[in-house]
């Protein structure tokens, strides 16, 4: 356990070094969030009765999404890992007395967390000061905070576990390009990062909510903004736990099978 912890720390501290990148990323995210809210405002004015959630909830959702983008973006891939598989450098990693899956999992966690830590606070504070329906609305109940935190953790683990499946699949296909693009665009949409899931048509929504990607950012952000309440909170989180186990299981099976028959090309 200790070696994974120190591996986590190395990656985390390394991620914290990129402060200029974080600053410009923050500016980008802030503009993005503002534009997104202005866009939804136009739709809200067109017909408020078609709006599936309150405007405060939507603003909160958007700002959380921007603040914690680094935790839940599917399109963030570490090309180093892909390259190490295709070039055969993964052999060095295999020589180490750690399990490949665990090591890369910890790495994924650390990279995402370090990015998010640098960016989230200014965005959250700034958006908290914005006037009423456009800013971040904080829930009064401490229970909701706790639930959100737990659900965010589950969501993050789920996204990292999903990334692991894609990394492991490269052992079988060698060319990562195609899978990467396809999977990324599907998962992005299904996780509600293009438009929040409540805005999808009802029959599409029913299917999407059953799929694993709805268990990432969708659940914690909607719990926090008060869009998911009561018993739905528990059932959504149960779904998160379920999909997390499924993803980890698939990833580990893929890893085991890949490593049993791995051929390192070249010398």
């Amino acid at each position: 356990m200790r070696k994974y912890w120190s591996f986590f720390r190395i990656r985390f501290i390394r991620g914290l070094q990129y402060r200029a990148a974080a600053l410009s990323g923050m500016v980008t995210q802030f503009v993005w969030g503002a534009m997104e809210i202005l866009l939804f405002r136009a739709f809200y004015e067109a017909s408020p009765e078609s709006f599936p959630m309150t405007f405060e909830a939507l603003s909160t959702y958007v700002w959380l999404q921007q603040a914690f983008l680094a935790l839940y973006m599917v399109w963030f891939w570490e090309s180093e890992l892909f390259n190490s598989i295709t070039t055969g450098d993964v052999a060095y990693e295999l020589c180490r007395p750690v399990r490949l899956y665990d090591m890369w999992f910890v790495r994924g966690l650390a990279v995402r967390l370090s990015k998010a830590v640098l960016r989230c606070m200014p965005i959250l504070i700034f958006s908290w000061f914005l006037p009423a329906p456009y800013g971040l609305t904080l829930p009064g109940d401490m229970k909701i905070w706790a639930m959100t935190l737990l659900s965010m953790t589950l969501g993050l683990l789920l996204i990292v576990a999903f990334g692991m499946i894609v990394y492991m699949s490269v052992f079988y296909t060698v060319s990562p390009q195609g899978i990467k693009l396809f999977v990324t665009s599907m998962a992005e949409f299904l996780s509600g990062s293009v438009i929040p899931i409540p805005f999808m048509p009802d029959h599409v929504k029913r299917i999407v909510e059953f799929l694993p990607f709805a268990s990432a950012q969708n659940v914690p952000f909607r719990i926090f903004s008060g869009d998911i309440t009561g018993p739905d909170v528990y059932s959504s989180m149960a779904k998160q736990v379920f999909w997390l186990f499924v993803f980890i299981l698939i990833g580990r099976i893929l890893e085991k099978r890949a490593l049993r028959q791995i051929v390192i090309q070249g010398g």
Partner: protein
């Protein structure tokens, strides 16, 4: 004429080199298509729920989306090298280009022509055709010309932004991520007519960075929401944005001192 022939042979060269990895080329093409298809799905779902936004119907929004997407994609294909200009400066490639007996900007543009973006262009074309057929606009030759002008104006505006972006690299020697706000951001939010974002955004996009000149105002005229015929000339004005960008390039070039290694 000579320059056109040179450019065409550069395109063919890039095409040939990409065809060496056919599978990867087509995969990227499909990937590009899928990524922007996501955005289309978002627009489609929003429009089926709300039916109209600021008086614009679904087909009019599609028209607007396709024009912006097409302009952006063409600009990205042509000006791709400027988007990654910091690497051209960083690895000394630009110093080599300066030694050649042709305009340096032209040679920089030739050094990278990204044809995989055509996956997205295909989608823009499909949406444009659908938008034209299903909208209630009375299509005269003049209106068709206006659509072409809007796309052209858009290419110029995006091109100018890429050029400014590259000029900054002369001084910073590295890329500035927040410039994405103007390129990717404009593509992302230019899917709807800019006017719907409110007065402040419209003001910025009219006087600071002229997105609205090739997108929003001509669209108002095209869809008959405004009778002001001057609006149809605005795309030409938006192309003037290239002039300050080009002057900045000249200025940057004069002050360029290689990276040294």
């Amino acid at each position: 004429m000579n320059i056109v022939r040179l450019y065409v042979s550069f395109i063919l060269m890039h095409l040939k080199s990409m065809m060496q990895h056919k599978v990867s080329f087509f995969m990227t093409l499909i990937g590009q298509f899928l990524i922007s298809f996501n955005i289309f799905l978002g627009v489609y779902f929003m429009m089926t729920r709300f039916h109209e936004v600021n008086g614009f119907s679904y087909s009019e929004v599609l028209l607007c989306f396709s024009i912006t997407l097409m302009a952006f994609t063409l600009a990205e294909t042509i000006f791709r090298s400027l988007d990654t200009f910091e690497s051209i400066i960083g690895n000394g490639e630009f110093d080599r280009i300066l030694l050649r007996p042709k305009n340096s900007l032209f040679l920089v543009l030739c050094s990278k022509i990204d044809l995989t973006r055509f996956g997205r262009l295909l989608q823009a074309v499909v949406m444009l055709v659908y938008g034209i057929l299903s909208s209630s606009i009375n299509w005269t030759p003049l209106r068709c010309l206006l659509v072409a002008l809007m796309i052209l104006g858009g290419v110029c505006v995006f091109g100018a932004i890429y050029l400014i972006f590259a000029c900054l690299c002369f001084f910073t020697l590295e890329g500035l991520e927040f410039m994405n706000v103007f390129t990717d951001g404009a593509r992302e939010y230019g899917k709807y007519p800019i006017g719907i974002y409110g007065k402040t955004v419209l003001f910025i996009c009219t006087y600071l960075v002229p997105f609205a000149l090739f997108q929003y105002y001509p669209l108002l005229y095209l869809t008959g929401k405004s009778d002001n015929a001057w609006y149809s000339l605005l795309p030409l004005f938006s192309a003037l944005f290239l002039i300050p960008a080009f002057l900045l390039w000249k200025f940057g070039l004069e002050h360029y001192q290689s990276t040294g290694s």
